[in-house]
Point group: C2
Chain length 457, copies 2
């Protein structure tokens, strides 16, 4: 066993450590399209919070970089290992510790997967409402990137559902923040600071999540529009209607065709509409009451026609599930089609038409192809960029981010910066804020062992 | 003009500065019952963000402590001046800069009052959903303490509605965080860190707030219960029912009698019920649809009977408004009755019965009288403590906070720590977290000029 692996084997036991010669390729990367895989010096698999603390004390003592890892489904390289560093994988800390039906919270270890949590909650009529596209993602990973997903238009993103954390600091102390409480004004909100910090501030060992009653009825309508501008202009009106959609997604023509083909879905849309529609809006609603849902579907359908929809399809449940599934797989479709990078710029909801116009100009100016879909209700635009030349692509990426920021948005709505988007962040963001964030980082991690190279250089 | 006042007059103009001899008593305190008034060396009244930056640069240069002030309605001494320090009052920065109906946000200066914002939003059918009891409070003050209030059971507290900030750092740099966007994963969440920091991290000069469609229909039901335990046990069941109450408050017998008398309200409850009821539950619901609201009222009323309510009154609108008003005035009632301190401990919702039992024991053990009401849906228990002896009262306060924390709660759900609750925080909280918060404080405010004495010593 190499030196580094041996250090951790001595600290927490040989059966908790994978040395470099037995490390599976899976540990060397996440799903970022641009990050070269890196094999770490060791992968450590803690089973308890105490072991995590021991690992971090050992890493601090020896100055070894630590990269926390959930399921590796991230999009920005945030869990890509550091050369000579150690990956702490939470795959063995995967217990749902408690489902508290009186306080409407679940307490989970970071290695619990979204699909596992959902399965455990369903029998109780409860739901955790954050669903990024990939259900095999872990709660720990979701906390790390502040994951979002399609339901965010109604329920918000991960940070809105994390009520408390147990976390281990770089120097080995374990803290507990928040709890089974929905409000607190007692010192600084460490919970919200750690959520979205991409493994750079602390390692999360337990998460207390807010739950909701599980809606008993749901419906999805699909509306083709003649232009992407028409679809994006309809979005603020639907939000303003007060119907409270659970999902409000736009899908451009190319993405719709590729994604439905990818999952083998036929939505029964007539060919003449398919040919004329440049973009689609997907609106899902949910309720505890069948009659209220039906009334909402009628109201939304009428509104969609008023807003210029070419037609409105109330999808049968299987088709609706298929369409949501296809939308969730948009990344895999892009990857299968050899996309070169993906972005998830967020802009004010009403600025999507402006932003999309700038995207089209950026693509044209740089001889690139940019296809997309996105969380229209949130202003969170997901795009696949097709341009092989890394220098031109870098120009495109920077232009996309700068355009989003100029409209009052940010580089990432839910993917995070990781190693792959940080250079744009460091170039485009206000240096005063970056310096402030660096000082916060130092307040948590004075020796800089937690995920160096993510967010900051 | 004394030296300190002159410094700031030189920096931002004489008409922006009140020197010590003309400082109104209002500036010397907030509404904390235990804090002795302090007259600052000067009150500065900036009119622009640039002036705030100049004020902070001057304060940094001369090492002068700065206390930010909104309307002075805080409960924990968070805006009490520091001897020799300067109060920055935001009363002249009171413009509603924008009501954006497409993105559903309002952009306001910190001196805007809640009632002013509500009045401006009503004609557009929009609402800002945080309503702490005092509508003359400012948005800046609300951001500072992360104010809550009765609607938090449905809508959350201030931090859930603040999408972005403009803030000036102690050293004079102005930063902008977040924006008109509902999600962001682009570095650390500075917005959420500043919210609730009680003027110790930065001075907020602009707030971007999330708005909602304003419900067109509302109803309030009042249910007397034979015991406080019965009322608190009913709460999780009502939340679990999925009806989504906008307000879910408990009011104990003493507070109900005193508060309704204070506002001259007769709810028409028969004497025999009044005599037998030890506590009341108030449930308000809202909807865009009259028929849905009616169905919800029926469902909640039936549920309340099942849960042991002695009767259920659907209040006429005027009586409902009167009752909410009376509940909001509970603090003033306590003050008028010579209460010695107030607390707003937060515990997990389902732990309220346990907590109330401990409160009763603490009161009995210490010869004190503790009356209360609270945001039952949030587990946020507001109590007035009647005990003149400061040493005994201190024992009581510490016991109340320790009891709340032992049940998984925190010292304050919405009032904050200020100068008046910090000693309990510093004594009872995990020292590792306190040290971490101190380092965060230093990252923002290396010279410690922002509200020293609040949260920390």
């Amino acid at each position: 066993m190499a030196d580094t692996a041996q250090l951790f084997a001595d600290a927490v036991g040989t059966d908790r450590v994978l040395a470099v010669d037995v490390i599976n390729d899976d540990y060397t990367h996440d799903e970022a399209l641009t990050a070269e895989p890196v094999t770490p010096a060791a992968v450590v698999l803690p089973e308890t919070t105490e072991e995590v603390a021991t690992i971090l004390r050992t890493a601090t003592e020896h100055g070894i970089p630590i990269t926390a890892r959930g399921a590796g489904t991230g999009m920005s390289g945030g869990c890509r290992p550091i050369d000579g560093g150690v990956v702490v994988s939470f795959e063995r800390m995967d217990d749902i510790l408690e489902i508290d039906r009186e306080n409407f919270v679940a307490v989970v270890q970071p290695g619990v997967q979204l699909d596992e949590l959902d399965e455990a909650l369903a029998p109780f009529g409860l739901a955790y409402q954050v669903y990024p596209g990939e259900y095999s993602a872990t709660l720990g990973g979701n906390v790390s990137t502040n994951a979002g997903g399609m339901r965010a238009v109604k329920y918000g993103v991960t940070r809105h559902h994390v009520l408390g954390l147990e976390a281990v600091l770089a120097t080995g102390e374990t803290i507990r923040t928040g709890g089974k409480i929905v409000k607190v004004s007692t010192g600084y909100d460490l919970t919200q600071l750690i959520v979205g910090s991409e493994g750079t501030l602390a390692l999360v060992t337990e998460v207390t999540l807010k739950l909701y009653p599980r809606a008993t009825h749901g419906a999805t309508v699909l509306a083709p529009f003649p232009t992407i501008e028409a679809v994006t202009k309809a979005v603020p009106k639907i939000v303003a209607s007060g119907v409270g959609p659970q999902i409000l997604e736009y899908i451009d023509m190319l993405t719709m065709a590729a994604a439905t083909a990818f999952v083998g879905l036929d939505l029964g849309i007539p060919d003449d509409i398919k040919e004329a529609a440049l973009a689609y809006l997907v609106v899902s609603m949910e309720s505890m009451h069948d009659d209220r849902l039906e009334a909402d579907v009628v109201a939304v359908s009428e509104l969609l026609f008023e807003l210029g929809a070419m037609d409105v399809y109330v999808l049968p449940p299987a088709a609706a599930a298929g369409l949501i599934d296809a939308r969730e797989k948009a990344f895999w479709v892009a990857k299968a089609n050899d996309a070169d990078d993906v972005v998830d710029v967020v802009v004010p909801r009403a600025a999507i038409p402006d932003f999309m116009a700038r995207v089209a100009a950026i693509a044209a100016d740089n001889g690139a192809w940019i296809a997309g879909c996105g969380h229209a209700g949130d202003g969170n635009v997901h795009m696949a960029v097709f341009q092989k030349d890394p220098e031109i692509r870098s120009t495109i990426m920077k232009a996309l981010f700068a355009a989003g920021m100029a409209l009052g948005g940010a580089i990432s709505g839910e993917h995070g910066l990781g190693t792959e988007k940080k250079r744009y962040f460091l170039e485009l963001e206000d240096p005063t804020k970056i310096e402030l964030m660096r000082r916060i980082k130092a307040a948590f991690d004075p020796n800089g062992i937690l995920n160096p190279g993510t967010i900051f250089d």
